[in-house]
Symmetry: C3
Subunit: 326 residues, 3 copies
C-alpha cells in the first residue's frame, strides 16, 4: 500500500515548508494570507487585508483569529496541492476559505466549532480549485460560490450529525406557514454601515466604518461605488416592501455592494459602455434575488449568504458576451 509512503512524504514536505517559514519566509506567507482576506472585495492589498482583519477583530476577537487562520489554511492547502504560484500569491486561492471559516464559526455552536470551521476552510480551498476548473471552461469567475455551497452543505449536515449544532437563530420553516411582517423603524445611516459589515457577517458601526476605510484605501472609485450600491439597494428594498428589520441589519444591501463592484469596476471592459448603469441595475436585482433565495432556503433554515450577488453578477457577465454594450 502506498498510503504509508505518501503520509511520510507529506510529513516531510510539511516539515520542509515549516523550515522554510522559520527561515524568514513566514512573512511572505502571511502577506499572501492577508491578500486572501482583501480579495473578498476584489483587491490584492495587504493594508486593506489588515483593515478588514481589524474590523473583524474589533467585532469579535475569536472571529478575527478564525479569519486569519482560515486564510492561512486556504493558502497552505493550495501550496501543498501544487496550485499556480501567481494565483496563491494574489490571494485568489484562499478568500473563499476566509468566508467559510467566518460563517461556520458564526452559525454553529458547541465545543467542536473551531475544528469544523478550520476543516471547512481547508475543504473550501479544494472546492475553490474544483470550481475554478469547471467555471474556467466557460470563462466566468467563481466569485464566492465555493464558500456558499460548502457552507450550505455543512449546515445541512448538522441536522443529522450529533457532534455539530446549528446556532438557534437558524431554524427551518415551512413556506406554507410563512407570514410577512414588514413594519419596523428605519435608520438609513445605520443600515449602510451594517450593509458593508454583513459581507463579513458583522453588524456594528465601528467595524462598518473600518470596512469602508478598507475599500476606500484600495480605490476611491470602488469606495464610491460601494456607497452607491449600498444606498440603491436599501431604497429598492424599501420601495418593494422588504422587511424593515432586515433592511436595518444590512441584509438587503451587502449583496448589492459586491455586485456593483464586480459589474461596474472589476469585470467590465471598455466595450461595456453602459457598465455604470448596468451595475446599478444589477445591484437593484440583488434585492428580489435576496428575497427569492431566502424563501427557497426557508424549509432548511439556511442563510442566503452571497448567492444573490453571485446570481446577479453572473447574469450580467454572461449577458455581456451576447450584449456587449451592457
Amino acid at each position: 500500500m502506498k498510503i504509508g509512503k505518501t503520509i511520510w512524504e507529506t510529513e516531510k514536505r510539511v516539515n520542509q515548508s515549516m523550515q522554510v517559514m522559520k527561515e524568514g519566509k513566514f512573512l511572505a506567507f502571511l502577506k499572501e494570507s492577508l491578500k486572501g482576506i482583501s480579495q473578498i472585495i476584489y483587491v490584492e492589498n495587504i493594508i486593506t487585508g489588515l483593515l478588514i482583519l481589524l474590523a473583524i477583530t474589533v467585532s469579535s476577537f475569536s472571529l478575527g483569529i478564525i479569519a486569519l487562520l482560515s486564510a492561512m489554511i486556504g493558502t497552505l492547502v493550495a501550496k501543498i496541492g501544487g496550485a499556480d504560484k501567481t494565483l496563491i500569491s494574489k490571494g485568489l486561492m484562499s478568500y473563499n476559505s476566509v468566508l467559510s471559516g467566518l460563517v461556520l464559526q458564526t452559525c454553529l455552536t458547541g465545543p467542536n466549532v473551531w475544528i469544523v470551521a478550520l476543516v471547512g476552510a481547508a475543504i473550501t480551498a479544494i472546492f475553490t480549485a474544483t470550481l475554478m476548473y469547471f467555471l474556467g471552461n466557460v470563462g466566468i469567475p467563481i466569485l464566492t460560490l465555493p464558500f456558499i455551497l460548502l457552507t450550505w452543505f455543512v449546515l445541512l449536515s448538522t441536522y443529522k450529525l450529533d457532534s455539530i449544532k446549528l446556532n438557534e437563530s437558524l431554524s427551518p420553516q415551512s413556506v406554507a406557514n410563512w407570514e410577512l411582517h414588514v413594519e419596523g423603524e428605519i435608520n438609513l445611516f445605520q443600515a449602510i454601515f451594517n450593509g458593508i459589515g454583513q459581507i463579513f457577517f458583522l453588524t456594528e458601526t465601528i467595524p462598518g466604518l473600518l470596512l469602508f476605510l478598507a475599500v476606500f484605501w484600495a480605490s476611491r472609485k470602488m469606495g464610491i461605488y460601494a456607497v452607491i450600491g449600498n444606498v440603491v439597494a436599501c431604497v429598492t428594498a424599501l420601495a418593494l416592501g422588504g422587511e424593515h428589520t432586515l433592511i436595518m441589519l444590512g441584509l438587503y444591501s451587502y449583496n448589492a455592494i459586491l455586485t456593483i463592484l464586480a459589474v461596474s469596476v472589476v469585470y467590465n471592459t471598455k466595450e461595456n459602455r453602459y457598465a455604470p448603469i448596468t451595475g446599478v441595475v444589477a445591484a437593484c436585482m440583488t434585492v428580489p434575488l435576496m428575497a427569492s433565495v431566502s424563501i427557497w432556503l426557508l424549509p432548511f433554515g439556511l442563510p442566503a449568504l452571497t448567492m444573490p450577488f453571485v446570481m446577479s453578477t453572473w447574469l450580467i457577465l454572461g449577458a455581456r458576451k451576447v450584449l456587449p454594450n451592457v
Copy 2:
C-alpha cells in the same frame, strides 16, 4: 463618476431610436416583435405571430397588450445591448420575454402587476443573452429556460416583498400533506384545445382553435405533430393515473406539444433516423416529468411552467451526440 454621462448617452440613444422609428422603421420593429411571439413555437412568421396575439387577446385584452409590449421590450433591450442583428430580427432574443410578461401578469395580483410584468420581460431579455452564452458553449438551445427561471425567482420573491402579491390559486403545500385525487370527467376534445392554449396560459376553445391555426399556418407538418404530441400525452397521463382535472386543463399536454416539435421537426438532422418515434417517446416522458416537477415545486407553490419540455428535449438533444440514430 461616469453614471451621469452614461445616463445622458442612453437617453440620447433612446431618443435617436425613437426618431428612427417615427421615420417609418417602427414597422420593422413591430415585425421583429411579432416574430418574437411566433418563435415561441419555433417559427419566424409574422402571420403566425399575429394569430397567436389574436388568440391571447380574444382570451384577455390586457394579456394581449402585455404580450405585444413584452415582445417589444425584449427586442428593445437586445437592440440597446448590442445583440447580433440577425438574432434580433428572427425574434430569438424576445420570445422568452413574451412568456415572462404573460405569466407574471397571470400569476400576480395588485396594482403594480403591469410594472413587474414589463420589468420582468426586460430582465428576461438580458437573461436570454446570458443563457445563450452558457448553453452555446455546449451546443444546446436555451428553449424557454430564461422565462422559467426568471418567473420562479420573481414568484418566490413575492413571499418576502410586500409590494407584489401572488395570485391565490398558487399556494405552497408540504409534500407530507399531499393527497392525490384522480377522479373527474374527461373530454379529450376539450383537453386538446386547452393543451395548446396552456403554452400561452390560456384554457378556452376559441383561443385554442386560433393557436392550432397559427401552427398549421406556419407548417402543416408542425400542425400534425402538435396534434399527435397533444393526444399521446393525454393518453399517457390517463394511463399513468394522472389527475383528470389537470388533464382536462391541458396541463399534462402543453409540454408534449413543444417537445415533439423540438425533437421531431425543429432540431433533428437526417442522421437521427428514428426522430419521429423519439419525438413520441419524448412527448410521453413529459408526463411523468410534469408530475415530478410539480411535486418538487409544491412546497413553494410554484407552477411547473415549461420545465418538463426543456428537460425532455435536452435529454434527447444531448443523447443524440452519443446515440446518433435517436
Copy 3:
C-alpha cells in the same frame, strides 16, 4: 408522416438484431451485459459481473432477474441508438441502467413495478448518453449521475400518478419536524458487509461477502481500498455522531467505497502524488455529504442514493486540474 415508416424500420432492425443473436452472438450480448453489471465498481470483468449478479440473486431472486434484464435493455438501447461499439462492449452504456432497474424495483410497489423498472432502465441508457455528452465537454466522468437523477424524478412523479406507488419506507417529512436519534447498538463487522451491499441496495452478510469476493477478484488493490474506505467512513460517522442504525445498515459507508476507488485507484494519474491520502479524505467527506443530501431530500421522502459519492469524487477530480498533487 414518417412515423409509420420508422416504426417499420425499427421493427426490421430489432428483428435483424434478434436473428443475429440466435446465430450465436447472443453470448457476446450477454457478456456485454455482464460487463455492464461489473462496471458499477469500475471494472470490465465478466466473472465480477457474475459474482455481483449472484450476490443480488441470493438476496432476492426477482431483483437478480431485474438486474440482468436492465443490463440487457441498457445495452440494447445503446446498440439501437448507434453508440460507439467500444463503449457498449465495455459495459459503460448500461451500468446506470442496472442501478435504475434495481432501485426502482426496490422503492416502488404495485403490479406495474416490473414495467416501470425496465422502462426506467431503458430511459437511463438514453440519459447516460446525454450526460456523457454534457460532462464530456468538461472532461469529467458521469459516474452514477444518470441513475440518481432518473430515480429521483421517477420517485417524485409517483406522488401525482395513481398507477405507481412508493414503498412505505419512503415518506416525506418537514425538516422543521425532524428529530435526531443517534442511539443504537453498533457491530462494525456487520456494518462493513452492509456497506458494500448497499451499493446494490442489499443488507445481508452473504451477499456482502460475495460482493467483496467480486471486488477482490477484479483487483486485490481495489479490494483493499474498498475495505479501507468502508472502515474509515464508519469510524468518521461514529465520530461525527451519525445515527447508529444508519451506520449499521451501511448507509454511511457505501458512498465511501465507491469514492475511494474512484479517487485512489481508477481516475488518478502519476501526477497526483497524494492520491491515496486524498482518497481517504474524500471517503471521509462522503459522511457529512450523506447527512446533507439526506436532509435536503427529507421534504420529498427521497433516498440520497450515490449522490454523496458523485459530489465527493467530482470535487477531487475537478480540483486535480488546479491542484495536481492532490
